[in-house]
């Protein structure tokens, strides 16, 4: 338990804050949070942060509750496990999920926590974590797909003072950076994280000076209360007393032959409180896909979904946490026992989007989207230049793929986009300028988006032509289970990966692999999955379907899923369309299912090898400890 050293004595009295000042402080906090992003993006070196913005900022109140941020990393849990003093000028660093109550969830994430002092007392916390593209370990980018313990996943930094009263611990940093493959990247990113947190701290102090510390702190309380009160009303409105809602989605495999993993989430409202329960989920995985989730993070995720639609401008924060109870079974996928491997938790963290959508959408139509591109699949390529000016030089690429946003109540899902905020793709020309590869194709795959009144976004096929010998690694999912459709919408297509070797042979790759050798002329097709469809495809405007055929986003064959017949020159055949639609309506049940998950898991497993070219995984089972 951290011991916070403050020179000021006595408590700051709480004062009344007028509603306008409250909104001013809310605005100031929001600006400070975006400034944190800006500072980091502009200075980072590693592609994970620089181009894809894999980072999460937070500003907390003196007790560590998040008052503004993008993701609920948990300062209270961090401080709980930190056995030292915290003083002005300190900057704390960790990358050990097991030492901070899963405030971060794999060792690639470096988490900084910085106390904000004003006039001798803590007036808040600035914190940020960023995904380091490499933290050592047995594979480049530090995410071995066959890891069974965290010890295989690179350097794991226990919570310690990177800066003690403003002074950098050079020795410790040297030891850490000696473990990683691209120390320049880590150093720059770390500098950027520190600069971003210090910027936030400066803004908080400025607000204390402008409004007075008592007003500032009282405003934080009021902002937390605002979320609390809003959520209380929402919960009563949306969830029926005593009724349990459940939803189950899947992670297809764990990288070492087990799967699919069931992710089950249930919700029950009792009085003013809601209980979120992960009971019924699969046991922890042998491979590295476990997603060690923090209770507060679960609350945050839940809250974002609930509140975004009600008041998009709200500064959401931790204020409503007391209204939510969370149960996460020990030894489950969500709370694995140390030293379980964690590196590939990106699938779980993404699947939470689908899980909450499927759960909350059952009573809130505005939130009932189909299943989307709920991951951030990784592609890695590394090696040494074999000739030319750079002979012998090490290259290492880490990049994230994008896929189909699902059909939504609002409309179609964008093709080849990101569910994650602020992620961007790395331009082809950038990749070709910095890495020995060429991109032959970068386009969305027609018909991969699920059919629906609102079409799911298409997945993307990126074809990489390698120019130097090296090895590649892939982290993806949804190759076995389907991105489901809703309200009559169809599932989207699953993801696929294969290499066309320079000698003309084709090799199907599993969705999780590393150490796959590649040679010049080999072409990797990295095909991501599409989003599910929303609503009855037979209700979609036939003209729109035909236009999408002409645009190459849907094939004329694919148009038939909408009951639309398209002529050879891409126009609607009205008569044939009417006939086909009538036929399809007659052949299907009158009531369309809310969820279309595709075939049942047993059937998927039985046809796995035939359909995907990959062996079926073994279903995980709970064993009594």
């Amino acid at each position: 338990m951290a011991w916070i050293v403050e020179t000021a004595t006595g408590a700051v009295e709480r004062v009344d804050v007028d509603p306008v000042t409250l909104d001013l402080i809310e605005n100031g906090l929001r600006n400070a949070r975006y400034e944190m992003d800006e500072v980091l993006f502009r200075t980072a070196l590693s592609p994970g942060i620089r181009e894809q913005h894999d980072e999460f900022p937070l500003i907390g109140d003196p007790s560590g509750k998040m008052v503004v941020g993008q993701f609920g990393l948990s300062i209270p849990d961090f401080l709980e496990g930190f056995d030292d003093t915290v003083e002005e000028g300190d900057v704390l660093l960790t990358s050990d999920p097991y030492a901070c109550g899963a405030a971060i969830s794999h060792a690639n994430d470096w988490l900084l926590v910085l106390p904000v002092f004003h006039e001798g007392r803590v007036v808040g916390w600035a914190s940020m974590f960023g995904h380091m593209s490499d933290v050592g370990g047995k594979t480049p980018s530090s995410m071995p797909t066959d890891a069974r313990t965290i010890y295989e996943e690179g350097v794991v930094i226990p919570p310690f003072k990177l800066y003690r009263r403003g002074e950098l611990n050079e020795d410790a940093l040297r030891i850490i950076l000696n473990q990683v493959r691209m120390p320049d990247w880590n150093r720059a990113d770390l500098n950027g994280l520190v600069a971003a947190c210090r910027t936030a701290a400066r803004r908080v102090v400025e607000m204390c000076q402008r409004f007075g510390t008592a007003t500032y702190l009282s405003a934080l309380d009021a902002l937390l209360q605002r979320n609390h009160d809003a959520m209380k009303v929402l919960l009563q409105m949306v969830f029926e007393e005593g009724r349990t809602l459940s939803f189950t989605d899947y992670i297809c495999d764990d990288g070492v032959g087990n799967g699919p993993y069931e992710l089950k989430l249930s919700l029950t409202r009792t009085g003013e409180k809601v209980h979120l329960d992960f009971t019924g989920s699969s046991p922890q995985a042998a491979g590295p896909i476990n997603y060690y989730i923090n209770e507060n993070l679960t609350r945050m995720f839940f809250g974002i979904y609930m509140i975004t639609v009600a008041d998009p401008q709200i500064l959401w924060n931790d204020g409503f946490y007391p209204l939510i109870d969370v149960t996460i079974p020990d030894g489950s996928y969500w709370k694995p026992k140390h030293p379980a491997a964690l590196n590939g938790r990106n699938h779980g963290i993404g699947r939470v989007f689908d899980l909450f959508g499927g759960l909350l959408g059952q009573t809130n139509p505005a939130l009932l989207n189909a299943a989307g591109f709920s991951s951030s699949p990784h592609f890695m390529y590394s090696g040494h230049y074999s000739g030319g000016e750079r002979k012998g030089e090490w290259f290492q690429l880490y990049s994230i793929g994008f896929g189909g946003i699902p059909g939504r109540p609002l409309g179609d899902g964008p093709d080849g986009h990101s569910l994650w905020p602020s992620f961007v793709n790395i331009p082809c020309e950038y990749l070709e300028s910095y890495y020995p590869l060429r991109i032959e194709t970068w386009e969305t795959v027609p018909d991969t988006g699920g059919a629906g009144l609102h079409r799911g976004g298409n997945g993307v096929d990126v074809a990489y032509v390698f120019e130097e010998p090296g090895e590649i690694a892939i982290h993806d999912d949804r190759w076995l289970t389907y991105p489901w459709g809703v309200n009559g919408g169809h599932p989207g297509a699953r993801g696929r990966k294969w290499i066309d070797r320079a000698d003309g042979t084709r090799e199907v790759l599993p969705s999780k692999c590393h150490g796959v050798p590649v040679a010049p002329g080999d072409v990797l097709h990295f095909v991501t999955w599409g989003g599910g469809g929303w609503g009855d495809p037979l209700e979609r405007d036939p003209e729109l379907v035909a236009r999408e055929v002409r645009r190459g986003l849907v094939t004329s064959r694919g148009a038939e899923r909408y009951g639309v017949c398209v002529t050879e020159d891409g126009e609607v055949d009205a008569e044939a369309t009417t006939t086909l639609r009538d036929q399809m309506r007659a052949d299907r049940p009158a009531e369309l299912p809310v969820f279309d998950m595709g075939p049942p898991v047993e059937e998927l497993l039985a046809r796995c090898e035939e359909e995907t070219g990959l062996p079926a995984p073994r279903r995980p089972v709970w064993t009594s400890a």
């Binding site: 909104d23 001013l24 600006n31 500098n191 008041d311 409309g411 961007v424 645009r551």
Partner: protein
């Protein structure tokens, strides 16, 4: 005798400013804009101003024009049907974009899917490939290109954009396609990405090239029509168009690369503000242009507006140099609302626009706007725009009362004060973007306020930022026309040169920059500006090798004579800027990304206005007194007529200064001094 004419065409008014270059005397005219044929309004204005000055229209040597025609084509979605040619495998480059979804964690749920500026139906692929080093991987299949273009010919394509992968490294394939297009699609203007933006990053380059083609036919028509209209009206002077970066270019150059003039309108305001501030002796300033639906802010150092590499129009963001204007989606027409769930006070982004407009306008608006809040607080006199609009105070109170009720406040004045405070805070966010977030302390700058609502909120923003004095130019609505008339000719050339300093020599850098200067210089020479009258500036974008963002650094031409010393100096300048922005340095090699040369002509010599000297007492300009609410109290403000104020008069707050197109609020504890050049300079009152 030589006369220059500044012309600014806005949505509602066309402003014309005639300057006698010899005496500095100016004449102004404001006429209604004529959207159906803007030349009509322009000619009316020119006729009026020439009549006032007693000169013949043929005596006008130069017509300098800032226009929103390109901007509006994009905002209203009324540009050309653009055909796009991409490299095979990249047909969906605009569809996929950067895969970016704006907003927070659940933002994708509420983000509408945008349509690309060039329809996929009109996008074809060229079978070819150039590598990032410019070498040819696959030669261009010309027969196939011909077939593809023929397919487009039947689709009514009005402009063609060609953007091939790595064309910044070698434009040969794009140029060949342009030649084929000239045969297959005669009369269709072609934009090549290697001309429009020879820089790395295919999406941004393609989008910029398509945007160029999208606005080109409309701009061409407009410029041609205006030129003809001017000529037939007897104006023989040369027509120049303001670029987004605040420089002038010939009408022909504007038609060739219209993407350079997307922000022509706002750039006029910034250049006008620079001129005004200079007259008052201030070289560092922040501009604050608050209109009905949005507010533009920009930072100017040493009379040089900061130039950004990105131009944003609505949702569209293209790579073209422009005055680094940041837009905040709030203005006088922004609507205040209180979401039921959170009971927070929100202002904007919805706007009442011009129709129905604020409740006070009496045109059927019932939603409380920022203007209504100002009316309730007594900051706006009872009529606007020279009496054309009479304000309905009761309607404003009724509208604002809804906010008071929803928030549980006890008076409409309290709610109005809240609305004004919130909108000022939103503005402050915009001002911080251009100042503190770029490492500049706003207290080192003056704040120049204009636009319909700027002078009303400027004093409050001076308090929030500490940027003093707050300068209110004379005739804030005419500032853009003034900017058009007082800026200089300009062009630039740029190129991506991706090279680590370790792989580059000072001599190579010098050669690249001088080539670019020659390119731009020749173009300006072709517009009639002799090379010896040109001033050349060099800028390069540098980063630490591996970073994703560059920092622009000015290159002192003297460095280029210093061999590899140029790179050392450049590295030092970059480090200093990085340290200023982010407070740390890295030990890795520097990398050159883009090189640019900017060539400008001399600034026109326009003598400033001089007001008649007063005695410091503004009593002669006093019109009436009016109750206003400030900080929860009702006080009495003196109301002055601006055109009766004399140089040196000191207006003490609380006070309101009115003129035809604007109202200035001077808060208690502040004074506004009338500068001889006509501007009001607001500062905190000295104690005692």
């Amino acid at each position: 005798m030589s006369y220059r004419l500044g012309v600014d065409v806005g949505g509602t008014f066309t402003d014309v400013l005639l300057v006698d270059e010899d005496s500095g005397a100016t004449w102004r005219a404001k006429t209604a804009s004529t959207p159906a044929d803007q030349a009509v309004g322009v000619l009316t204005g020119i006729g009026k101003v020439c009549a006032d000055a007693g000169i013949d229209m043929s005596e006008v040597a130069q017509v300098l024009h800032g226009t929103t025609v390109a901007t509006n084509a994009i905002l209203e979605g009324k540009g050309a049907t653009v055909g796009l040619v991409t490299t095979k495998g990249f047909r969906q480059v605009l569809q996929i974009a950067r895969s970016f979804v704006p907003g927070g964690l659940a933002g994708w749920i509420i983000w509408p899917k945008p349509e690309p500026l060039a329809d996929l139906e009109n996008t074809v692929e060229a079978d070819e490939r150039i590598a990032s080093d410019g070498s040819v991987v696959r030669p261009l299949d010309e027969d196939d290109v011909r077939r593809q273009l023929q397919a487009l010919a039947g689709r009514g394509v009005q402009a063609l954009a060609v953007s091939l992968i790595n064309s910044f490294a070698d434009p040969a394939h794009e140029q060949r396609i342009a030649a084929i297009a000239a045969e297959v699609l005669p009369g269709v203007p072609v934009s090549l990405s290697s001309d429009v933006l020879p820089e790395l990053r295919e999406y941004e380059r393609t989008l910029t090239t398509v945007a160029n083609g999208y606005v080109q036919p409309q701009v061409a028509r407009y410029v041609q029509h205006l030129s003809e209209g001017l000529a037939s009206g007897g104006v023989t002077g040369e027509l120049s168009i303001l670029r987004s970066d605040g420089g002038l270019q010939s009408a022909d150059a504007a038609v060739a690369a219209p993407v350079t003039m997307l922000l022509s309108g706002p750039a006029g305001g910034v250049t006008g503000a620079v001129w005004v501030a200079e007259q008052c002796g201030h070289r560092d300033l922040i501009t604050f242009d608050m209109g009905g639906t949005s507010t533009d802010v920009a930072l100017v150092r040493d009379l040089d507006p900061r130039i950004g590499r990105e131009t944003k129009v609505g949702d569209l963001s293209v790579r073209a140099s422009s005055v680094d204007v940041r837009t905040v989606g709030a203005g006088g027409g922004s609507i205040a609302h209180v979401p039921e769930l959170t009971r927070a006070l929100r202002v904007g982004p919805q706007s009442a626009g011009a129709d129905p407009g604020p409740a006070a306008y009496g045109k059927g608006g019932v939603e409380p706007t920022v203007t209504d809040a100002n009316v309730v607080l007594g900051y706006l006199p009872s009529s606007l725009a020279g009496g054309e609009i009479t304000l309905d105070v009761e309607a404003s109170r009724a509208a604002v009362s809804k906010v008071a009720e929803a928030m549980g406040l006890d008076s409409p004045e309290a709610a109005a004060a809240g609305i004004v405070d919130i909108v000022n805070e939103n503005m402050l966010g915009g001002l911080r973007l251009v100042s503190v977030q770029q490492g500049f302390d706003p207290r080192d700058f003056a704040l120049v306020a204009f636009g319909g609502a700027g002078p009303l909120h400027a004093n409050a923003l001076g308090k929030l930022t500490g940027a003093w004095p707050v300068i209110i130019p004379p005739g804030p609505g005419l500032l853009c026309a003034l900017g058009d008339a007082t800026t200089s000719r300009r062009d630039e050339s740029a190129r991506t040169v991706l090279r680590r300093f370790g792989q580059l020599s000072g001599a190579e850098l010098a050669q690249i920059l001088r080539e670019l200067a020659d390119e731009a210089g020749e173009r300006l020479a072709a517009q009639g500006l002799a090379r010896e009258q040109q001033t050349v500036g060099f800028q390069v974008d540098v980063r630490y090798h591996g970073q994703g963002f560059e920092i622009p650094v000015e290159v002192d031409p003297a460095w280029l004579d210093d061999g590899d010393g140029a790179l050392t100096k450049l590295g030092e300048a970059f480090d200093a800027e990085h340290d200023r922005l982010f407070s740390f340095l890295l030990g890795v090699d520097h990398e050159l990304v883009n090189a640019r040369a900017t060539v400008t002509g001399p600034r026109p010599d326009v003598a400033p206005v001089r007001l008649e000297e007063g005695d410091g007492d503004p009593a002669a300009a006093l019109v009436t007194e009016h109750p206003v609410h400030v900080a929860g109290e009702q006080v009495t403000a003196a109301v002055y007529a601006r055109d009766r104020l004399r140089a040196g008069d000191v207006v003490r707050g609380p006070a309101i200064v009115t003129e035809m197109d604007s109202t200035t609020l001077v808060l208690p504890g502040h004074v506004a001094e009338v500068h001889p050049s006509g501007s009001l300079l607001i500062t905190p009152a000295q104690e005692g």
